[in-house]
């Protein structure tokens, strides 16, 4: 007898710990400093890093590639040098008056006008819809709000949908994870989401819109989202990968190697399929996922051509080596985000192989690139609301679930402890159970398994059993 509930296994495993590719988990090359300050004070410069860190202080000196910066973190003064490549935006004192501080995730989006100029200038405007996806993949970034936003885009008759993707890639302590951490099994969570783009949009739209993904960060399951579209742009500090643990997933598993190969093959087949659906070379998935896989790129008439193996000529470029012997990524490479045992696409490599159509750092730049800056009309008024409502609702649901669980434990039979009081207490518990079931049904898809497990939130089935237990107690009770 054979059993292979692949999808279910994948979902369960996706909830597991992230695996450090090669067994080493290190901090990203970008310094992450503890922040105490939340907004710029008068005369302060502000640095916004691609990883979300915002630093306030004074630019001491500056070269073409680096900035020497003096700042303060949690009361401690420091002076250090940052590479400009890691900085998303520099707000100088005169540009950054007090109180203007903003999150780094979407610096341009907040300041730029969300509505195109009026239509009375005689120009036919092309409606576009902007969806900003940030936060946790599978929690904040989930099928329900995305489906709602796409539905709204359809109602607004959008001709272009722009998805700004900045999925967080952090450990359980909230620390940014490096390139060499991976969670391939998250693709099974992504398979709840990507059919919205691949299947539902073509099905539901008479004239399907052009869908553009602007990648800021797409690691793990989030990497599947750019893979299913053709029009992709990267930000300067973007990265896409986090799938490189497939070769290691069964390395220490019991059983036969041929079964491990089968399980890897099936997973790879899933991911390759989505890349094909997006019009991409499926070998890209092999390079993202498999350590022994070697992929290089050559150029014919200026066009990149992928091939398996090490570079054949000086003009060719290695994308990912076999990770064996001296090719094994060193700790130094890992720390600096320069690994190539598996592929992590960045702005340069993505552009090099024409996976990305260009490197874009601001909303305005992207609109210009898409010819929407002058003739586009932003119709995404509700988008931000839909996404933030979901995230807030999710957060609120988690808070409520924790509180309800505490409330449940604190329900007491009040004096004099008679039948009436016992009945009242059971009634309170039943109401709490009903509320918890309601929350689990409404928000279940986005609730992090870590959260549910960590706080001991019962499943709906367990709550049903608890409900029946209380009802039986009530039936047994006598005045």
């Amino acid at each position: 007898m054979q059993w292979n509930g692949l999808k279910k296994f994948g979902r369960a495993a996706a909830a597991g710990l992230l695996i450090a590719v090669g067994g080493v988990g290190l901090v990203n090359g970008v310094p992450v400093l503890a922040q105490g300050q939340t907004q710029a004070e008068p005369g302060q410069d502000m640095l916004i890093f691609a990883n979300g860190t915002v630093m306030y202080g004074k630019i001491v000196s500056e070269t073409a590639s680096s900035i020497r910066f003096k700042g303060k973190s949690h009361g401690l003064e420091f002076e250090t040098e940052y590479q400009k490549a890691n900085i998303l935006e520099i707000k100088r004192a005169k540009d950054a008056p007090a109180g203007e501080a903003k999150p780094a995730a979407a610096p341009a989006a907040k300041n730029s006008p969300r509505t195109a100029p009026p239509d009375d200038d005689g120009i036919q405007r092309r409606p576009y819809y902007w969806i900003t996806l940030n936060g946790g993949f599978g929690t904040d970034i989930s099928q329900t709000p995305i489906r709602q936003a796409i539905k709204d885009a359809k109602e607004q008759k959008a001709e272009v949908i722009i998805i700004e993707l900045d999925a967080s890639w952090k450990d359980e302590m909230g620390e940014e994870l490096p390139d060499d951490t991976a969670n391939f099994n998250q693709i099974f969570r992504a398979e709840d989401i990507v059919p919205i783009i691949v299947e539902e949009v073509p099905r539901d739209w008479e004239n399907p819109p052009k869908i553009v993904v602007w990648v800021k960060q797409a690691m793990g399951g989030a990497a599947l989202m750019p893979l299913v579209v053709k029009d992709i742009y990267f930000s300067s500090n973007a990265r896409m990968g986090g799938l490189g643990d497939l070769s290691l997933m069964f390395a220490r598993a019991q059983g036969d190697k041929v079964v491990h190969e089968k399980l890897m093959s099936a997973r790879l087949g899933h991911a390759q399929g989505w890349a094909i659906a997006g019009g991409h070379d499926p070998r890209l998935v092999d390079a993202l996922a498999l350590i022994p896989y070697t992929l290089s790129v050559t150029f014919e008439n200026g066009e990149p051509v992928l091939y398996e193996g090490m570079p054949r000529t000086a003009g060719d470029e290695l994308l990912t080596d076999d990770g064996r012997g001296e090719n094994f990524d060193t700790v130094e490479q890992r720390v600096r985000g320069e690994t190539n045992d598996v592929l992590t696409l960045n702005a340069r490599t993505a552009r090099l192989i024409n996976f990305s159509k260009g490197t874009i750092d601001t909303r305005e730049q992207l609109l210009r690139e898409l010819n929407l800056d002058r003739v586009g009309k932003d119709v995404s008024n509700r988008s931000e609301r839909i996404l933030s409502d979901w995230s807030r609702g999710l957060e609120n649901a988690q808070r409520q679930l924790r509180r309800l669980l505490e409330d449940f434990a604190e329900v007491r039979v009040m004096p004099p402890g008679d039948f009436s009081e016992r009945t009242k207490a059971r009634g309170q518990r039943l109401r709490i159970i009903e509320q918890m079931i309601g929350l689990l049904r409404r928000w279940g898809e986005g609730l992090d398994p870590y959260f549910l497990y960590g706080y001991g939130i019962p499943s709906e089935e367990d709550l049903n059993i608890m409900r029946e237990t209380i009802k039986l107690e009530q039936l047994k009770d006598r005045k």
Binding site: M1, Q254, G255, E261, A277, E468, K476
Partner: protein, 432 residues
Amino acid sequence: MFTTKTKNPAVRGLRVLAACLVLAVVGGLADTASAADVLKLKDGRTLEGEIIREVDGYIWLKYKLGGLEQETMFTPSEIVSVERGAESAAANTEPVQKVDEQAAKPARPGVPRGAVLTMEEMVGQYMTAYALQQARPMLEEELGSEGERIVVLRVKSGGGYTLEVQKLLDEIHFNYKPRFHTVGWIDSAISAAAMTSHILEEIYFTPQGNYGACTEFMGASYIASKGRSLEERLHQMEKVSALSGYDYRLMRSMQIDDPLSVTVTPDGRVDYYQDEESGDILVNRKGKILTLNAVTAEKIRFSRGTAATLPELTKAMGYKEIDWIGKDEPGVLWPVTKAERWTQQYRQKTAEDERRLGEYITNYQQQVAAATQVPRDQRGAFVNRARASLSRIVSMTRNNPAFLYFTFNMPTREDFDEWIEDQEQFLRDLMR
């Protein structure tokens, strides 16, 4: 080969429960089963039994014939009238209706009629021969008797029990293919799902489609089949490949780590080689297990084409038009036939029952325990609740008989009925 272990602790609980509870006089369930629903058929027969399911006028009747109990589905066109027994009223979901207008419409001359039927989720539990058997008469009814009739089996499954594969193969080969032009549309066919689909001569992929990874193994131990059992499985798929016209080496590379290369000759012939070098196209490396994607499947002519939508599939199949029967429903890529709706409901109930099985069993246990803890004259309410839980367990096996074997480890319906009868008797005894 079959393991008696179950992965569901709740089921183990059921077995413990079954062993612990008092087993006494036989009887009980038969009383319920013999509740008098009467079906008058156009062929003159009058059948008396229990209506156990109704969908859009289709009726599943459990009745005895020559002393043997059986379940049969009747289409609306076979039924003259239904008289319902009082006890079955709760099970009745919808009145008997006529076949919908579209299905009754005569076929347009020269235009084939087609239906999409989904085969999804775990093989043996959701993707079953039973589901295909139940859907078949509905498809016959809906597709009519005139002209070409096409059934597209849309497959999306990560595999499951190989024990079910032969049943599925037989149902498709002996019952679907002779009646319908049966084709596969592969979204994902992994393991047992690919082995099942391999009986179809005509296969199309979705762009994201995948197919393969058929290595047989035992549960979570990841131990591959070896020796005779492996040879039997390889031989089984060699026969299937021969029936459907595929080179046996293709499936072999999906089952074991044999290499495979292929040459497609200019005249369209496909030559297979069980090595990496001889063919022009390297399909599988030595030591790897093959899963095809849409690109490779089409390149080596295994897939007849790649289609994301029904119009694309129509075109890939070489038709200008096909009358796809069924109703357009939001969220579904193709018109939904009655057969497909039944199949979806079957899977939905299976999923709910699978998820809630532990709840059914735990509740039954605590209801029985509560009944035993109170004086006899107060037991009624507890016993009634226990009966409701027991009926949920019965209901899940009626919707999907696969639970009998794969979940309750009871090889036949009779074994299960006997167990239920024992429980019923036990509950009756509690009331005495």
